[in-house]
Amino acid sequence: MADKEIAVSVRDIHKEFVLPQSKNSTFKQTVVNIVKKNNKVTQKTLDGVSFDIHKGDFFGIVGRNGSGKSTLLKLIAGVYTPTAGSIEVRGGLTPFIELGVGFNPELSGRDNVYLNGALLGFTRKQMDEMYSEIVAFAELEPFMDQKLKNYSSGMQVRLAFSIAIKAKNDVLIFDEVLAVGDEAFQRKCLNVFERYKAEGQTVILVTHDMQTVKNFCTRAVLIQDGAVIENGDPIKVADKYSAANQDVIDQDLEIANHKEGAVGVLATNELGEKTNSFTVGEKVTLEINWDSNDTRVIMVDLYKNSGELITNFISKREGMETLPIGKKVKLDIQAMVTPGSYHIDVSLWDADMKQRESVDYGVYSFMVTNDFSRAASSFGGLTFLKSTWRS
């Protein structure tokens, strides 16, 4: 493995930006700055980043927002010029870091395919040959003569992605493609990734989805504050990234749970970690505490953020006749719901549920994300209902 051919070599890259407030955008400012001999205010975005990407690597770059990974990608793609250091790319590289670059809303879908194709390095003749394949993959045959501005955002993304995957080059770059598009589109992306991996295509992928990193990447780096803090094993990188995020979530949760109010909610996953992100089918444990001495029944309404009430949970109905004296209960829920954002309302009631003491709307929100490694990939609809098959 060690003597594999190097495709991209990043050597001690530094990148500094001149901050906008000190940029000379008018002559007056320029004159003022020259007279005052203002020192430029710069921001170090990357501070000595080095790594190699080998041929056939499925290379993940992960990091929190603002860590410098997009800057790094733009440097590799040749959009930015490094302040110091060198980047060597052997072979051709797709020069784009975003889908649908140059898309013009006033042009038809067809014209946009040719425009985008040219920017990705295709001649008109090559585009003619690939055109029908691109349109078929995007499933947009009836819409190609309509203006792009009349496309839904999903259709635009599909079209852009269909062109992008045609861009066969020695090194491909994908920035957050999974963050856009619906589930079917995401699965399509993942299928394409599978194929790339099987073909030994060199791919650089920036994503926040650690499951993808673990499943696909052969190598990965974790960027934090402009430096590489973990390089190599994608599992280690993904776990370290999750752990770094966990710290931030914990801080937020602590702040949220210390707020004064009738109800407090603390959620943990199967491993007992505090979080607000779960995968489909994972067990969510809600620890609910309250202040009032008169509460006899607790009701939890589970809403999808789009507005639908998914279901409710009532302590008395589910068999808890009396609430514990400690004014604290735990509710286990199997997150058998479609991926998306959810929140819960918690309300406190008297014994026969005639009088509602108080209700805390949106007291806790969480995300359910897809986990392609589980049975969830066959998921359809809002939730699973208990059912039995009989002959």
Partner: protein, 264 residues
């Protein structure tokens, strides 16, 4: 280093075509406006300068003479103004794709060139109506227009790279163009200017280009650099300026283009 690879040509073509398609988006007459605009401009100028202010009554085919000047000057204005803002206007591409940056400037010059071509078609139609005889001298327009393109592109390279950081540059250039319009013999014939000043007029490459074009297209009685100036130094001046402007513009552009993506 190869500048015009097939890939770059494909990008240029798409950018120019897009520009042209989007320009008349939503108008009923569409592309026809590319012809109608110069046509109406000519009609207005014709009325003004033959009936109201007959500046060129001594000049043969003065309306065509005037139109030739206007058309070339309009190209110069359009190409340099659009060129100056081209890099910033295509900021979305520059920030996201590493296509060669000079393509953006060349595309804007080519867009203006399409309009020049259409306007010249109208000028030729006007010329024939006005009784100008077609001749092989019309072919002289090819090197003349090439010189004009070189000049416009050189200025566009310089201004577009400066515009990324100094947004005042287009305003300054606009004023410069206003002054240039009167410093160049466009609406008045050079014969109205005392002969000893001609050499100062001809240092301006636009004066040399327009007068040469008139000589080629309209009438051999046009005062040109070649007929009115006798010092070789002065004759060389407009050409040296065109080449120098192009080299300076291209070098300045090349030096700054690496940082366009972050400076826009």
């Amino acid at each position: 280093m190869r500048y015009m690879t097939t890939k770059n040509r494909a990008i240029l073509r798409e950018m120019v075509v897009t520009d042209f398609k989007v320009r008349y988006q939503g108008s009923i007459l569409g592309y026809l406006w590319s012809l109608l605009k110069p046509l109406f401009l000519f009609a207005i100028l014709y009325v003004v300068f033959t009936y109201i202010i007959p500046l060129g009554k001594d000049i043969q085919h003065y309306p065509v003479y005037l139109l030739t000047g206007i058309v070339l000057w309009n190209f110069f204005t359009e190409a340099t103004m659009q060129g100056a803002s081209s890099v910033v206007a295509r900021g979305d591409l520059i920030r996201k794709v590493s296509i060669p940056r000079y393509l953006v400037v060349i595309a804007s010059t080519l867009s203006a060139l399409i309009n020049l071509g259409l306007s010249l078609v109208v000028v030729i139609i006007f010329a024939l109506f006005n009784g100008v005889m077609p001749s092989f001298e019309w072919l002289m327009m090819i090197p003349i227009v090439l010189e004009l393109i070189l000049l416009a592109m050189g200025i566009s390279f310089l201004l577009s790279a400066m515009y990324v950081k100094f947004r005042d540059i287009t305003y300054i250039w606009e004023i410069f163009l206003q002054a240039g319009f009167y410093a160049t013999p466009i609406i008045y014939p050079l014969t109205k200017v005392p002969e000893q000043f001609h050499k100062w007029f001809f240092i301006n490459p636009m004066a040399q280009i327009i007068q040469d074009a008139r000589y080629a297209m309209v009438t051999n009685t046009t005062t040109t650099l070649w007929t009115s100036v006798h010092s070789w130094m002065v004759i060389a001046a407009p050409f040296v300026i065109v080449v120098a402007v192009f080299i300076v513009g291209a070098l300045y552009f090349k030096q700054h283009s690496a940082y366009f993506a972050e400076d826009i």
